[in-house]
């Protein structure tokens, strides 16, 4: 009886410890929260997957969450990360202004944030802000667009969500090139909020009012996919479409002779670098880098599209 009870109790103790022990082993170095916009856009999914894979390689437990571009939801996710005792937060944020307070709150709680893709409008709060060189990338895309257009003709610009700095900077990069060509005429410029559905709807409407367009330049690939679908539906596959991001969808379209070009943001690698810098910071107390860092983008067209896979170019 005594022996049996001891065995029983030992069994209870083991089963009680097991669930605790497992995360302790996995989380030898702690927990990294990875917060991005919705994974519906493969770009953000690639970020989350890249960050998670690197974090696990480096011995961290991960907590992957999406804010759906809602600053209130993002704020709640920060509370969750703080409550769970995260050691670091890797973030693609929900707004350059609105995010400042959340990152500050994490900092006050002793949790460093490492931002990717989008900047916030303050420095000195996050430890790192690693962003694609959108201006450089947009100029690459615009140069290709102008070349494809033969330096002349009517065109449409679909811009991203206004609250996002990347929408403004890409538009600015496009126009710093395109506006130098007097025969390039912009007949419509509308926001499609980074969305494929809105890209489709806006393109449909614009096309009715301006049937004489020759090209469409888009602030991201999902809007480009939407615009291309609308052009295809209207039998206007002669229209030149250029995107931005370097998604597999646009890669496939380029290879099939649809969309003509896009600009690759190294999203997968960028997310990994953020985790590496978080690890460096947690282990040594510094990243050894400037807070704000730019990563160059690469033009993708028929020449190199086949080498593109999940926001990275293979050798």
């Amino acid at each position: 009886m005594k022996v049996n009870r001891r065995h029983f109790m030992a069994g209870v103790a083991v089963t009680a410890i097991l669930p605790l022990a497992r995360p302790v082993f996995a989380a030898e170095k702690g927990l990294i929260a990875i917060i991005t916009p919705s994974h519906d856009n493969p770009f953000f999914k690639a970020e989350a997957v890249g960050a998670e894979a690197r974090a696990k390689e480096l011995g961290y437990e991960t907590l992957v969450m999406v804010h759906d571009d809602d600053p209130n939801k993002q704020s709640e996710l920060f509370d969750t990360a703080i409550a769970r005792g995260a050691n670091a937060i890797v973030l693609d944020n929900a707004g350059a202004d609105a995010t400042v307070a959340a990152v500050q709150r994490a900092k006050d709680a002793g949790i460093p944030s490492f931002l990717i893709d989008r900047e916030i409008k303050e420095s000195g709060i996050a430890v790192s802000q690693i962003v694609s060189n959108n201006y450089q990338g947009a100029q690459l895309g615009a140069e290709e667009f102008v070349m494809l257009m033969g330096e002349s003709g009517n065109y449409v610009e679909l811009v991203g969500r206004e609250a996002d700095t990347n929408a403004g900077i890409r538009s600015s990069g496009y126009h710093d090139i395109i506006d130098q060509y007097p025969d390039m005429v912009m007949v419509a410029q509308q926001s499609a909020n980074w969305s494929q559905t809105e890209g489709y709807e806006k393109m449909e409407t614009i096309l009715q009012a301006n049937p004489d367009i020759k090209g469409v330049i888009c602030g991201n690939d999902t809007m480009a996919m939407g615009a291309w679908a609308a052009l295809e539906a209207a039998g206007r596959t002669d229209v030149i479409v250029v995107g931005f991001d370097g998604s597999n969808d646009v890669r496939d379209s380029i290879l099939a002779g649809g969309i003509k070009a896009t600009v690759l943001q190294p999203a997968y690698r960028q997310a990994q670098i953020a985790v590496e810098q978080a690890d460096q910071y947690l282990t040594t107390g510094a990243t050894g880098k400037d807070e704000k860092q730019l990563m160059d983008c690469v033009l993708i067209n028929g020449d190199n599209a086949a080498k593109l896979e999940t926001f990275a170019l293979t050798a």
Partner: protein
């Protein structure tokens, strides 16, 4: 409100021939505390570029200058990264390209001074083939001038938009510093100092000049 108006304000400036001349008030009432904050990014960065041009930018280029043939030889024998480590300038961050400050001379083999993206094609190796493109502007490609300045750090700027406007303002100053003689330039000797970005070994040299002297 500001998010809608800012791109419009930027656009309206971009469309003006001499963009720096137009000052549009920033419509955000919260930010309007000092005069500098009331200026557009474009006007503020133009003023900042002007303030550092003569005292910091031009001296930095002159101090870091390598003779172009020496640099080319070094890149050819030891590779771009070795040449970059020895003479290059680049901001922090993975895979950022090297920028080099160089001086050189040669013969103008082609001159396009009509285009908005005016340029001189210069042969510095006396083989009759142009090996340097001297960008005259007003359209000057790239951000080499900005990125070659060790004292210009992205973290000090609000965002990429402001930082991009600074690059453009510095390119504008490079353009306005160029004075060319009248007449046909092809066949004439030219000496230059300036900055260029090299991403891959063997890429064309597209120089943003701080000095161009046609003999």
């Amino acid at each position: 409100m500001r998010d809608i108006l800012t791109p419009l304000a930027i656009l309206s400036c971009v469309l003006l021939p001499l963009a720096g001349c137009k000052i549009v008030k920033d419509p955000d009432p919260e930010a309007a505390t000092t005069e500098a904050e009331q200026m557009t990014d474009e006007a503020r960065m133009a003023a900042f570029a002007e303030s550092i041009w003569a005292d910091q930018v031009v001296p930095t280029v002159n101090e870091s200058t390598v003779a172009l043939p020496d640099l080319t030889a070094l890149i050819n024998t030891q590779g771009l990264d070795a040449a970059g480590a020895a003479h290059g300038l680049r901001p922090d961050g993975e895979a950022n390209p090297w920028n080099f400050a160089v001086s050189g001379q040669g013969k103008i083999v082609e001159a396009n001074t009509e285009s908005r993206a005016a340029k001189l094609m210069v042969d510095t190796t006396a083989d009759g083939v142009a090996d340097v493109t001297v960008q005259l502007g007003p359209v000057v490609r790239g951000t080499a001038l900005r990125d070659a300045m060790p004292f210009i750090v992205f973290t000090d700027f609000r965002d990429q938009i402001e930082f991009a406007k600074l690059a453009r303002a510095l390119n504008d100053l490079a353009h306005s510093a160029v004075a060319l003689p009248e007449g046909d330039l092809v066949g004439r000797d030219v000496s230059f100092t300036g900055v260029f970005t090299m991403r891959n070994k063997g890429d064309k040299v597209e120089l943003v000049p701080t000095r161009v002297q046609v003999e």
